[in-house]
């Protein structure tokens, strides 16, 4: 009992408008109980297609629900993903304007930039490794367009994986000689460490998450392209952002990145 095409379009409109106006909407699964996971991805692609038609550039993808904890919480057994557009990119050591956001949270992640196309099915972590140009530290800012973060997996998938902004460190590290699961991360809020974790938090190894992404996109005849950015998944949990906060994150051997909040959140 999937949703009809007009219903999918209606939801895409609502999500678009919620983001543009910073007015979150009720959980989709409450308004549309029949919403299925494949509907949710179709909605995400509708919104992404509009962004492409509006001359925005697709820079890459984010992967979410990559920890056992998150998968248990959302009662799912695999990660999800979302699209990253140029309009979502923030420069390192710059300011993020909270007045354009709804209820943002920040997460530290290992990010990859591809040096080759990567097209599934059947992509293995070893193939992922060969396709990676470099690895670096990143922040992802997530910001649900659903009221009070009251989301299920289907809500967040339709809502582009709740993604909102991202920041990449300028440091570029080759993968050779790095053991990603063993890299530690520390996330600082106003100079206090508030979250730590290791690369293993991301499906045991962030390369596993990229292989998942390549193989999942392949089901819809899509591939990852040279130069695209992949945020591999949250390490150690998210932190609520408030006016005036300063955040920085450092991952061992991958550098540090920071961002400062300006402006006030919409109440």
């Amino acid at each position: 009992m999937a949703l009809s095409q007009p219903q999918l379009l209606e939801i895409a409109d609502k999500l678009d408008k919620a983001e543009a106006t910073c007015q979150p909407i009720p959980p989709l699964v409450e308004t549309y109980p029949a919403l299925e996971e494949k509907d949710a991805y179709q909605i995400q692609w509708m919104v992404a297609s509009r962004a492409l038609r509006a001359q925005r550039h697709l820079l890459g993808y984010k992967i979410g629900l990559t920890s056992l904890e998150a998968q248990k919480h959302f009662r799912v057994f695999e990660p999800d993903y979302g699209h990253l557009f140029d309009s979502m990119s923030i420069n390192e050591d710059s300011e993020i304007d909270l007045s354009q956001l709804i209820q943002p949270k920040i997460e530290g992640e290992i990010a990859f930039v591809l040096g080759k196309d990567l097209r599934g099915p059947g992509i293995t972590p070893a193939q992922v490794m060969r396709a990676i140009d470099y690895v670096t530290t990143s922040f992802e800012i997530i910001d649900s367009r659903i009221q009070n973060w009251k989301i299920t997996a289907r809500d967040t998938i339709a809502d582009n994986g709740s993604s909102s902004r991202f920041v990449l460190s300028g440091m570029k590290r080759r993968l050779e000689g790095l053991s990603l699961p063993h890299l530690g991360m520390a996330l600082y809020k106003n100079n206090d460490v508030v979250v730590t974790g290791s690369g293993a938090a991301v499906m045991g190894n962030p390369l596993n998450a990229v292989a998942f992404l390549a193989n999942t996109l392949a089901k819809h005849d899509r591939g990852l392209l040279e130069g695209q950015v992949i945020l591999s998944g949250s390490i150690g949990g998210m932190v609520t952002m408030q006016a005036g906060d300063h955040f920085s994150v450092e991952i061992q051997k991958l550098g540090r990145v920071s961002v400062r909040c300006k402006g006030k959140l919409n109440e």
């Binding site: 920890s67 056992l68 053991s179 699961p181 063993h182 890299l183 530690g184 991360m185 520390a186 206090d192 460490v193 508030v194 730590t196 974790g197 290791s198 690369g199 293993a200 938090a201 045991g204 390490i235 150690g236 450092e250 991952i251 061992q252």
Partner: protein, 256 residues
């Protein structure tokens, strides 16, 4: 109930594996200085029963936890030599109430560190070794629920420790961001990095030296200092296998 009786109550709770009601509920006026006195009496009781001091453990070393209780100094407890668990050994459940495990950084000094006024540089100069470690905590209170005064009186829930063999001192500059992964029966349950401990676990050693100095005590060479939990504590029951993986070494145990 006076402080002597409370110390005996807590010691017996540990020996008999029977949790007790929080002291702060029995004696609402129970203060931090009472709590410290009870911990001291409890340690003296243990020594009188033949226990030896193996080192100190630090608690309340995360900024988030400190804000929760509005106390901005770590707390400490005594670690008894009899509670050391051999590397990759067995944790006996018949001497525990509701144990949990935390990955930690252990520091061993080559020379005594005596405050007041110990600096981070003094700490670095005095270190013999920095080792991957884990701590078993096991509150003697019902439900593992307590106030700050309760947990100090209860020797900060200290119940056991394991120290690894790989000395991380040559990589001291990388210590804060070493990635640590805790697995229970093969599944990843926690990850973290030593920066979780006050931003730098060596600050925990500095704090210990300076707080001991208030009682004219020092950290002797050779004792183990467990600097504080790196992740949330992980509960375990009989039959569980716990593994703490550092880049350099894996510490594990089976609960029997």
């Amino acid at each position: 109930m006076n402080n002597q009786a409370i110390a005996e109550l807590l010691r017996n709770a540990m020996l008999n594996r029977t949790p007790v009601t929080q002291i702060s509920k029995i004696r609402p006026e129970f203060s931090l200085s009472d709590a410290n006195e009870v911990q001291e009496i409890g340690f003296n009781l243990a020594q009188a029963q033949g226990e030896k001091l193996a080192g100190y453990k630090m608690g309340l070393t995360s900024k988030a936890k400190q804000r929760d209780v509005n106390v901005f100094e770590p707390i400490r407890g005594y670690m008894l030599a009899s509670t050391e668990i051999p590397k990759n050994g067995i944790v006996k459940m018949n001497s525990r109430i509701h144990p949990r495990v935390e990955p930690e950084v252990a520091v061993v000094l080559k020379e005594e560190l005596r405050g007041p006024g110990v600096t981070l540089r003094d700490v670095v100069r005095s270190i013999e070794g920095i080792y991957p470690a884990l701590e078993i905590v096991d509150s003697r209170y019902e439900g593992f629920i307590f106030k700050l005064e309760d947990v100090i009186a209860d020797n900060t829930s200290a119940a056991g420790f394991m120290v690894g063999r790989v000395n991380l001192l040559p990589q001291i500059d990388e210590l804060n961001l070493m990635g640590i992964t805790v697995r229970k029966n093969g599944a990843i349950v926690e990850t973290g990095a030593p920066a979780a401990v006050l931003g730098d676990p060596l600050l925990s050693v500095m704090s210990l030296a300076n707080s001991l100095a208030e009682e004219a005590k020092s950290i002797p060479a050779g004792l183990v200092v467990l600097t504080g939990g790196i992740t949330q504590s992980v509960s375990f029951v009989k039959g569980d296998k716990i593994e703490v993986e550092w880049p350099q070494e894996i510490l594990s145990f089976i609960a029997e």
